[in-house]
Symmetry: C2
Subunit: 296 residues, 2 copies
Amino acid sequence: MSNISQVRSFNRTVTRQVGALEAHFLDTPRSLAACRLLFEIGPDGQDLVHLRASLGLDSGYLSRLLRGLEKEGLVRTKGSSRDSRIRRATLTSKGRVELDRLNRKSDTAAENLLNALRPSQRTILTEAMATVERLIISASVEIRVEPPASPAAHYCLDSYFAEIGERFESGFNPGLSPTHAPDFQPPRGYFLIAWLYGDPVGCAGLRLGPTFAEIKRMWVAPQSRGLGIGRRLLDRLEDLALQHRLSAMRLETNRVLIEAQNLYRSQGFREVPAFNDEPYAHFWFEKRLKSSKGKL
Amino acid sequence: MSNISQVRSFNRTVTRQVGALEAHFLDTPRSLAACRLLFEIGPDGQDLVHLRASLGLDSGYLSRLLRGLEKEGLVRTKGSSRDSRIRRATLTSKGRVELDRLNRKSDTAAENLLNALRPSQRTILTEAMATVERLIISASVEIRVEPPASPAAHYCLDSYFAEIGERFESGFNPGLSPTHAPDFQPPRGYFLIAWLYGDPVGCAGLRLGPTFAEIKRMWVAPQSRGLGIGRRLLDRLEDLALQHRLSAMRLETNRVLIEAQNLYRSQGFREVPAFNDEPYAHFWFEKRLKSSKGKL
DNA sequence: AGAAATATCTGACTATAGTCAGAATACTGT
DNA sequence: ACAGTATTCTGACTATAGTCAGATATTTCT
């Protein structure tokens, strides 16, 4: 079977299976959309903006679904303190009981699937499921050029600074390593964000120099590591550097970021002597870009 | 992650992905249900009974969907020659063009998923998909005791006789190896049918003797082999024989049925001297049943 | 301060999906 | 021959899902 027909055959089989699992919700007095909403609100509650984005709902429709759940006494909505346009939905205690019930139902449905198999097959199935899931998620990541001052960029940079602040032996003070947003905006550079299902899960900045490009602020969200996002960010940066006919990409990194160093090496970067005096750097890397014949 | 939470996480991810693929149908003027119907009718046409069963549609709903497709000029229905209650839906040439278009759209959607991955990941993904699919299908097979004269039983037996008629070196004449339906019905025996999505895909008969049980008419549909159906049929037969406190199961087989002999051996059967004069048999097998202490 | 953007809600609407009862017709087993 | 069963169709109905155009309140930008 070709790859494409395997994917289509898989989709047919899995749709049927998932449909059967979803049918289990139908013995509740609630619609599937309302159940999904309960799951998405979760025990800790969620802002309506987030619910709308991650379930892809029309704002009117979401509003109506929430009114329905409120009438059932499962959900409460209240304004957020920071921004009183934003409202947050939380489960009432009755709602938490109901979510538990739905979770148990889903567990049972998954268990029924597994119970029909022999123990050795169960392991094979769940391992193959993990692989499929990881690769589908990986294929769903989309990398786009974004303004470095956008909210998503701020979110990434804040997360990045928070993480290295914890990991660097000396902590991290952004003031000592300043970078200006305009450096990462055309014409002086680029800022890439990796998106997964509407959430930013990684970023990378590129600053264009006269002969080489500098990579800065490269980060992948911890829960999304191992999906090849770092690799894809580097590939895109390389494309951009090549478009500008630069002959090399350079970056510096801190010694505690072992996994980043491995990534750079596996993507063709070589360690070079220090080319700047970045205070937090211990290693400097460079990748010569092949199809370039120096600066145009 | 536990097996159960892996299954649930897989379902979430895959639902999202499949939903995205299905969204591709939405740029047609047709509903998803109508598209599924076109796929199911296929280039060769299908009886309405089959469409209703395999898509799980209400007969009124199906009727209306078909009227819609007829109005669009994509489908024709005509009475069957054998039974004029049964009607058959076939695609018009315009319908075939439309089905081709849908197929190409689906191929493109599957291709987009694969194209987001590196070639090595594509192979890993499709192999894992094949594994997941095989095991889900395998878990969806249901084995039930059925009357040996039911239409499904006839379908299995006809397929079985047709297959061995082709494979046996001497052909096969059912008259020389007679078995009566009552032998496979309680209290004298059992007839098992393996069902997959409403279609019979395998069978096995058990004839209860005074001290041992005889297995007869064991068959698995060619397109469903490798799913462990034979193994599960044998397990169920063993349960039944144990319920009747029999000490052994016996069967005979033809030398060309190599895969069957491998199955028997792997399930604990041992070759024994001929215990009957079945004309088409070359090998005789027996499995002693453990928890039994002879006939009650 | 004023303009533009954002978040939510409501009312009015449409499309899709599905159910159910009954009618017409044809087949099957005895 | 005839009672019982199966197939399909129609009309009448409901539920679910979703869309769209404002209205309102709030925040952000300039």
